[in-house]
């Protein structure tokens, strides 16, 4: 048995490596999770495949249709993209919460997603933004909504030989914005005990016309909370709507008791954070509307 390191320069080369290998191939994106797993002996790959030389897998492109984010783009680069920060502040703030500034220099959206931790910070924000993962593999390319990638703790819907090349984000509608909040016991350097992301679109009168709500760390996978979105659509986020959102968020939670928090605490805080994230998203959308007024 031996272990080798490969850094393919094309998608085809990478797919060939992933499908041709007899043993286990692990994809090295940022490496912030993989290196810890290697060191602990939890994974013993035969090939470590560094994807960062594949064209398009690093960097952010702003297009007419929206944004294309390379799957291995580090959080720090995401945090510095002014256009993305203006359009999807929730994604940027989530990416800036993953570990320390040093970790953000490497940690990527694809790595955060495919590690398939229920607590991954960027995933609820990506879900509420309507992000689509472009998955490549032996059978070509397919587009998968982010909420369909993770199917359980540590498990994804990616087939053998598949990996994520990039994420596509639609161009946001006018008067749209989002927010991500997480609860941690400290102020930094922690794993989400609960995470909540909300994206909203307002009409000219400030009424929510479209919303997406997602929760993290309260179930085996990140949840898209349709009832939560419905609770605030049609409102100006008054107290009644907030109370309905809080209740809807609590209702979908299916958390565990663990060293980071209790079931009861996670459920209650999911409601709190959903409300607070919605309020921030609406404030940002209103601010954006004010900023673009003629």
């Amino acid at each position: 048995m031996s272990l080798s390191y490969a850094s393919p320069t094309t998608v085809n080369e990478a797919v060939a490596l992933l499908t041709g290998a007899t043993g286990l191939t692990k994809i090295l994106s940022g490496g912030t999770d993989l290196l810890v797993q290697l060191r602990s002996g939890r994974v013993k790959p035969d090939i470590i495949m560094d994807t960062k030389k594949i064209p398009g897998i690093l960097g952010i492109i702003e297009t007419e249709a929206g944004f294309v984010i390379g799957a291995a783009t580090p959080g720090a680069v995401i945090g510095e993209h002014a256009g993305l920060a203006a359009a999807y502040p929730g994604i940027v703030e989530a990416a800036n919460l993953i570990g320390s500034t040093q970790v953000q220099g490497r940690a990527s959206l694809a790595g955060n997603l495919c590690n398939a931790s229920p607590a991954a910070d960027s995933v609820p924000a990506m879900i509420t933004a309507g992000a689509i993962a472009i998955v490549v593999g032996p059978n070509g390319q397919r587009a998968v909504p982010v909420e369909q990638i993770v199917i359980g703790p540590g498990r994804t819907s990616l087939a053998r030989g598949e990996f994520i090349l990039e994420f596509k984000l639609p161009k946001p509608a006018a008067r749209s914005s989002g927010a991500y909040l997480r609860f941690i016991p400290r102020t930094e350097m922690d794993i989400a005990v609960v995470g909540a992301a909300v994206n909203v679109t307002l009409d000219a009168a400030g009424v929510i016309t479209h919303a997406r709500v997602s929760l993290g760390a309260v179930a085996p996978t990140q949840l898209l909370v349709v009832d939560g979105a419905n609770a605030i659509i049609g409102s100006k986020l008054d107290d009644a709507a907030l109370a309905k959102l809080d209740a809807a968020a609590r209702a979908v939670c299916n958390p565990i008791d663990d060293k980071r928090g209790t079931i009861d605490f996670r459920i209650k805080v999911a409601g709190v954070l959903a409300r607070r994230a919605a309020a921030i998203a609406v404030q940002r959308a209103l601010g954006q509307a004010a900023g673009t007024k003629h």
């Binding site: 016991p185 102020t187 794993i191 005990v193 060293k259 009861d264 605490f265 209650k268």
Partner: protein, 643 residues
């Protein structure tokens, strides 16, 4: 036990995987109260409770009972107008020094051994290794490596004896390094414990009786700091009637090791929380209640010592007058006050002062420097010799190059080793005067020492130009040889340390998250030799105490296994968790030290947990008696109160 030595860590890991270990799963007990119950799984069938009458005849997890008593508590409670009672618990917490344990050792074919390791006392390392390996002390030379934090946790050996056994077998140098997980799982945290406190007082605040019962986790083998926990928890107060009982209890946890003021933070969290409850019940200001009962010079403690030259009331006075104490608070905010005591110790230390040929000065001590003590040694010697501190180079000698020195702990180094260095410097100064007298051919009594120079003592002594230290050093060979002195002491009279802390917090009423907004730590430091280092010790102790109060704990799963052996889930405070911690130094000099120094490193970790708890009580109106006061606990308590 099995150990593997290999030429690379990859080979060692692979070899370890080839070792098959079969475990017989035995019943276990983690919690200290559970371990004391009848029918609890007994860890050691040869462990009988010490300190009880009649003598114990059945094996027990209670290794020891200790008791301290003053006056008559029943009579005291009978006199009381107001009584408060509380039951408090704390969790095991780790020192969490950033440098994991590591060593390199060589055992020669002749048995002569060399140990490089990072510890709080290389003489301690030598002693343990000699005992465990059946060697003579003189066959082992222990070298003090720079130490990346200890806080009490590096006062025992873990790796060195194993590395020595491997080196002996292989005939090669052996290096051992712990992973962070190893550090959490296999080295000693400090105890968690339970503390029942009862206080009785008259309406004017005079405490008439106090009792405390402490049960501390020792880990798998006896040796919790329950005794110092008992001795310190009421030492801030002049109490006529008090009983304190402590139990040292084994359970299936790592054997505890010392952690900064061992025992005192645990017991004082309870007693200072109870003092806050008493103040509330009496409608008294918490500082006024403490002033009413404060220990002063002449106060006799429950453990027998009568205090002299203490500065406790001065810390209360300073707290009361500090602008922090009267600053306005906002919604969901609260302020807490708590005090603390630590003995500080002296003991055996050696210091040597060498005047080099060029007039520079070397200092050698046997005390590993864990917080800047070398600088303080240099400053004290420079002061005695009247030379710039830059001329003095302090180093730490290994076990073969300097006399025996007890480990760095108990806030003893600046006091005890400082005393040895000061005395050695004084001897050198006397020698320098003698040498000048020889050169000038006048009696030594006719020579004075001033600003680093020998000067004639008066007009009668003769008209000599001042002779600087360097000039005397140059002529040392002609006046009797090298100018050096080595002094060993068993220092007595370490002045006890007292501190009073003020803490402001804000609690998020929906998540239970506590933010420490402002923190002021006031402490009697005796005389600050190196003020900014003293401030650093005060800030560091407070920071560790805040971590202990809010988020740090050993968490066990249902199988009795530690579930958070890493920095991700064992949450030491990060920079953004901490407010500015203002250190206020009160100086009540210690007459037993040449410069008035008292130990400063430990007492600052004693008050914070109660200070934070009392602030949270102020913010949300709920007493949080169980550490850590983590967000899920706070949210649950707030929900319970709301009904």
């Amino acid at each position: 036990m099995a150990a593997v030595a290999a030429t690379s860590s990859a080979i060692a890991d692979a070899a370890l995987e080839l070792i098959e270990v079969k475990y017989e799963i035995l019943p276990f007990v983690i919690d200290v109260e559970d371990a004391m119950l009848p029918g609890a799984p007994i860890l050691h069938d040869d462990l009988f409770t010490a300190g009880v009458e009649p003598k114990a005849t059945t094996a027990s997890n209670i290794a020891k009972r200790v008791a301290f008593k003053l006056g008559d508590v029943d009579a005291g409670f009978a006199e009381a107008d107001v009584v408060v009672e509380g039951y408090y618990t704390t969790q095991a917490v780790h020192q969490a020094y950033i440098e994991p344990h590591a060593c390199v050792v060589t055992v020669g074919s002749d048995g002569q051994s060399l140990i490089y390791s990072s510890s709080q006392g290389h003489f301690m390392v030598r002693a343990y290794c000699a005992k465990l390996l059946g060697m003579e002390l003189s066959d082992i030379r222990a070298m003090p490596s720079e130490i990346g934090g200890g806080f009490g946790g590096k006062t025992v050996v873990y790796l060195e004896p194993i590395a020595m056994a491997l080196s002996k077998q292989t005939g090669r140098p052996v290096k051992m390094v712990m992973t962070r997980e190893d550090v959490f799982r296999s080295t000693g945290p400090t105890s968690g414990g339970t503390i029942a406190v009862k206080l009785g007082a008259k309406k004017d605040g005079t405490i008439t009786a106090a009792t405390a019962v402490l049960k501390f986790q020792a880990g798998a083998f006896p040796g919790s700091p329950v005794q110092p926990g008992c001795m310190t928890c009421f030492a801030m107060y002049d109490l006529k009637n008090v009983t304190i009982t402590g139990y040292d209890v084994v359970s299936n946890r790592p054997k505890v090791a010392a952690y900064r003021a061992p025992g005192a933070p645990i017991s004082t969290f309870a007693t200072e929380s109870a003092m806050d409850e008493l103040a509330l019940k009496l409608g008294m200001d918490p500082i006024a209640l403490r002033e009413k009962n404060a220990a002063k010079d002449g106060t006799k403690t429950a453990y027998g010592v009568t205090f002299q030259n203490i500065g406790y009331t001065q810390t209360l006075e300073a707290a009361k007058n500090h602008p922090h104490y009267t600053a306005p608070l906002g919604p969901n905010q609260g302020r807490g006050v708590a005090s603390g005591f630590w003995f500080n110790i002296g003991g055996e230390s050696t210091g040597a002062v060498h005047v080099n040929e060029d007039g520079s000065v070397s200092i050698v001590t046997g005390s590993p420097d864990i917080g800047g003590s070398r600088a303080s040694m240099a400053m004290m010697a420079a002061e005695v010799l009247g030379i710039p501190v830059e001329k003095v180079r302090p180093v730490i000698g290994d076990t073969a190059t300097i006399g025996f020195t007890h480990l760095t702990g108990g806030s003893r180094v600046t006091f005890a080793t400082g005393m040895a260095v000061t005395q050695a410097a004084e001897r050198v100064r006397d020698d320098l005067k003698k040498r000048a007298a020889m050169i000038w051919e006048i009696p030594v009594e006719a020579v004075d020492w001033k600003d680093g120079e020998a000067v004639p003592a008066g007009a009668n002594a003769g008209g000599f130009d001042p002779m600087p230290l360097a000039a005397i050093a140059l002529k040392a060979a002609k006046t009797g040889g090298p100018i050096i002195a080595e002094v060993s002491v068993n220092a007595q009279g370490a002045g006890p340390g007292f501190a009073t802390h003020i803490c402001d917090v804000e609690v998020d009423p929906e998540t239970g998250h506590t933010t420490v907004l402002r923190y002021t730590a006031i402490q009697d430091v005796g005389r600050a030799i190196h003020p900014s280092y003293v401030e650093g010790q005060i800030q560091g102790g407070a920071a560790q105490g805040i971590g202990w109060a809010l988020n740090e704990e050993y968490i066990y799963d249902k199988q009795g296994k530690l579930d958070n052996a890493g920095f991700l889930d064992y949450r030491v405070p990060v920079a953004s968790d901490m407010p500015m911690i203002e250190a206020v130094m009160i100086e009540v000099p210690n007459p037993r030290h040449p410069f008035g120094a008292k130990g400063v490193g430990e007492v600052p970790i004693v008050p914070p947990m109660a200070a934070v708890a009392n602030a949270i009580r102020g913010a949300i109106g709920i007493r949080m008696p169980h550490l850590p006061m983590s967000p899920p606990k706070l949210r649950a308590a707030m929900d319970a109160k709301a009904g």
